[in-house]
Symmetry: C2
Subunit: 462 residues, 2 copies
């Protein structure tokens, strides 16, 4: 075994500390530091890792990084080498089953735990996925393609445009449904921009990820994958959606519209929530249960419209009291073309910003108002201050979410510099990004009151 | 009647249009515009009103602003002059009742509708409040003092510091409880900064406002006022709190801790929600029902600590994918001392920002990480990227809300430029701004599962 394997991914200070104590990766160890003792398994690191930390998988399943320079001793209690390969099985082909395409962008959508070592091995090829989640073969004929490999906070126009084009090509080839594996951090941003870049899709486009990696007993990875593949293969819903856990338990998944969904908890599996509406449908292994009827239906044609226009000079200004005008002025100086304000209440900012907003208008910058309450509508007619801002060219966007308005403004300004045209694009709902009203059970949490859900839950609990 | 009264508050184009059609304020009218006909009552305007709009109270109770230049005709159907004065009754004094002080900062906390005209007259003096909400006299001896008169989005250090000092003086005089009337937009920001500026209060400090003005049948103004005065007078809870509607109905109010509350709906009355915990208590006209036991208790001493330190050069950076480093660089150039990032997921931003964050560290700027999911904790040890950012000096703030971290950082940097000292202040919980864990029923909505609540609701429904 080379050093490269024995200390996989470690460099600098971290590498010399491991060598010093002869502690190879996959060793069971007690690490002693100034802060106390840590017991676990030394994990290999990625190529981009920093040179300062040793990463330990604790018995709880959590990984922690320990600063090498604070380590006083490493006691080795065992070592079991990892298997790097998932036992692949050929994904069975069944001509009667629909064809589903799974695109990877970087999030771990499935993986397999090596129980001997505790190592997590990402699964991605159809054969690997079949080895990890054999239930997938009951649903469809699966094809996979890795488009990107980035943490989701690093997603940008290159990846959004590339994914939209890949979707278009796959639909042209006659696929029955598309699944996109994605990190959860910015899954709702990508879902929003794909809702604008990919229009009139004849098939479901389902985004999926996992909040907990599959080495933890509470992982949502396999179930989310099953739910999303089931939706892509069988559902009648030809929308861009996010498919993740419904309740905190694994009782069912929810399908959220791409423009009305937001990540609302940093660690819960039930983190994705539909805002200002209810989810489109619930899904379990057996069936998809629509909760609304206003969704676009699956069609047999291939008439998708791909429009990847994109302007990068757009920003979100998240208002806070005592904000100074220099925040807006810097955006003007730095040649931004569009600003989405997340205002307080019905869409407000303080008076000292007004002259800066006036300057933005004079520079032909498109400025839109959303609400940082997330739920509810912008209403700029109610107070004089709102009317003042509209005089300054600030355009209210009804109940469009701030992140959705940001992505839509990038897309709209990519198509035109004429602010009247941009306004027309922004204020015309494309995929429920603006809705006429909020259902009474659309606030905070989707719960009860809908017979299908009650029936589903009671049946499931029997 | 002078022009000043007849066209109260109108100027410029709006005034000449009204004069043109001889339409005085308090006239019932049909206004014809290019967009159609509007029927309602012409309202007077404030001194700061713009010269372009005429404000009409519609039959629905909503006010709208109509652009004067688009008006083609005004048809007058009636006119009833308004009474500007609330019938005052002397607030009864009862030596056995506690003394409560009500500070006004600008929000309308109570008002009275003149049914003949539809005019809304704000009530504020004890006599006016007694005339509007006579139930208050059953609770306490009320004193009032108007500190400010600003829309809440215009609140700033002057008002925060002044309010904290006024609270300190009132406690020194031996008041039994304090109520602060406040616009709802930034009530949670003010609640947060008061939680830091006013410590060790021996009495309840209760912030209150209304989401719907009292000319609407669904107004929450009177009930919120009763609940907040009841809490200030009778409750055992010596914390800075927000008192607003619990459910969408008027079944009960909730008392939210000042550092754990956020406005979550632009128009609902149940807009304020406790985030990452459950509310401290529920309140109705009869009693206050604690839901937790970990609150600070009322005391008979007067040992409050007022610390009004404040640094204004602090900003919130709300991360979005594809954010460019110029956002951070502008803050550095503009001499900001502190930055609160609201990151995605567990606390992430993209790689292109790292060099700018490094520069911020070199310039001795305090940078803190919060999560824009609002619920859940920052965890920067989980991924390499989080550890990279900690190397760059970005400090995770556990489950502190972005707005709370912003206010606390203004306060901490007001006390010291030494970043170690600032860190110590930031990471030491003062009023549950950081908590050890999130209760399982603290996500999205506080609901059921607590016997007190179930019992309360079932009793109320009988």
């Amino acid at each position: 075994m080379t050093d490269n394997d024995a200390y996989k991914g470690y460099k600098g200070e971290a590498l010399s500390t491991l060598k010093n104590f002869n502690a190879l990766v996959w060793s069971d160890v007690n690490i002693y530091t100034e802060q106390g003792k840590f017991t676990g398994l030394i994990l290999p690191r990625s190529e981009t890792a920093d040179p300062y930390h040793i990463v330990l998988k604790l018995r709880t399943g959590y990984n922690i990084g320990i600063e090498a320079k604070k380590i006083t001793n490493i006691e080795i209690t065992g070592r079991k080498e990892a298997h790097y390969k998932i036992p692949e099985k050929e994904f069975p082909y069944d001509p009667k089953k629909p064809r589903v395409k799974l695109f990877g962008t970087g999030g771990t959508i499935a993986s397999r735990l090596d129980y001997r070592t505790g190592a997590v091995i990402p699964a991605f090829s159809p054969g690997e996925l079949y080895g990890s989640v054999p239930e997938l073969a009951d649903i469809c004929n699966l094809e996979t393609e890795k488009l990107y490999g980035v943490f989701s906070e690093n997603m940008g126009p290159e990846q959004w445009i590339g994914t939209a084009k890949a979707i278009g090509e796959e639909i042209a080839k006659g696929v029955q449904g598309i699944v996109i594996g994605h990190g959860t951090d910015t899954m709702h941003h990508t879902a929003a921009i794909l809702s604008f870049m990919v229009q009139n899709s004849p098939v479901p486009i389902v985004m999926v990820g996992s909040q907990r990696s599959s080495d933890r007993p509470s992982s949502d990875a396999a179930l989310n994958l099953m739910h999303s593949v089931k939706t892509a293969a069988d559902s009648d819903i030809a929308e861009v959606m996010v498919c993740m856990f419904g309740p905190t338990s694994d009782m069912y998944g929810l399908l959220h519209q791409g423009t009305r969904v937001r990540k609302m908890h940093s660690s819960y599996r039930s983190t994705f929530r539909t805002i200002g509406d209810i989810p489109i449908a619930m899904v379990n292994r057996e069936k998809i249960t629509p909760l609304r009827t206003d969704y676009k239906r699956r069609r047999s044609d291939k008439d998708v419209i791909i429009n990847t226009a994109f302007e990068e000079r757009v920003s979100i200004v998240y208002y806070y009291p005592n904000m100074k005008p220099d925040i807006i002025e810097s955006l003007i100086e730095n040649d931004y073309k569009g600003i989405v304000i997340a205002g307080t209440g019905l869409g407000h900012v303080n008076k000292p910003l007004y002259p800066a907003l006036k300057k933005a208008k004079e520079k032909n910058i498109a400025v839109y108002m959303t609400v940082q309450t997330l739920w509810g509508y912008v209403q700029m007619y109610v107070y004089d201050t709102g009317r003042d801002m509209m005089e300054l060219g600030v355009v209210p966007t009804a109940n469009m979410l701030p992140e959705v308005a940001y992505m839509k403004l990038c897309w709209a300004l990519g198509q035109s510099n004429d602010l009247e045209k941009v306004n027309e694009i922004m204020l015309t709902p494309i995929a429920n990004d603006i809705t006429d009203r909020e259902p009474s059970n659309g606030y905070l949490i989707f719960q009860g009151g809908i017979p299908e859900v009650e029936e589903f839950i009671s049946r499931y609990r029997k």
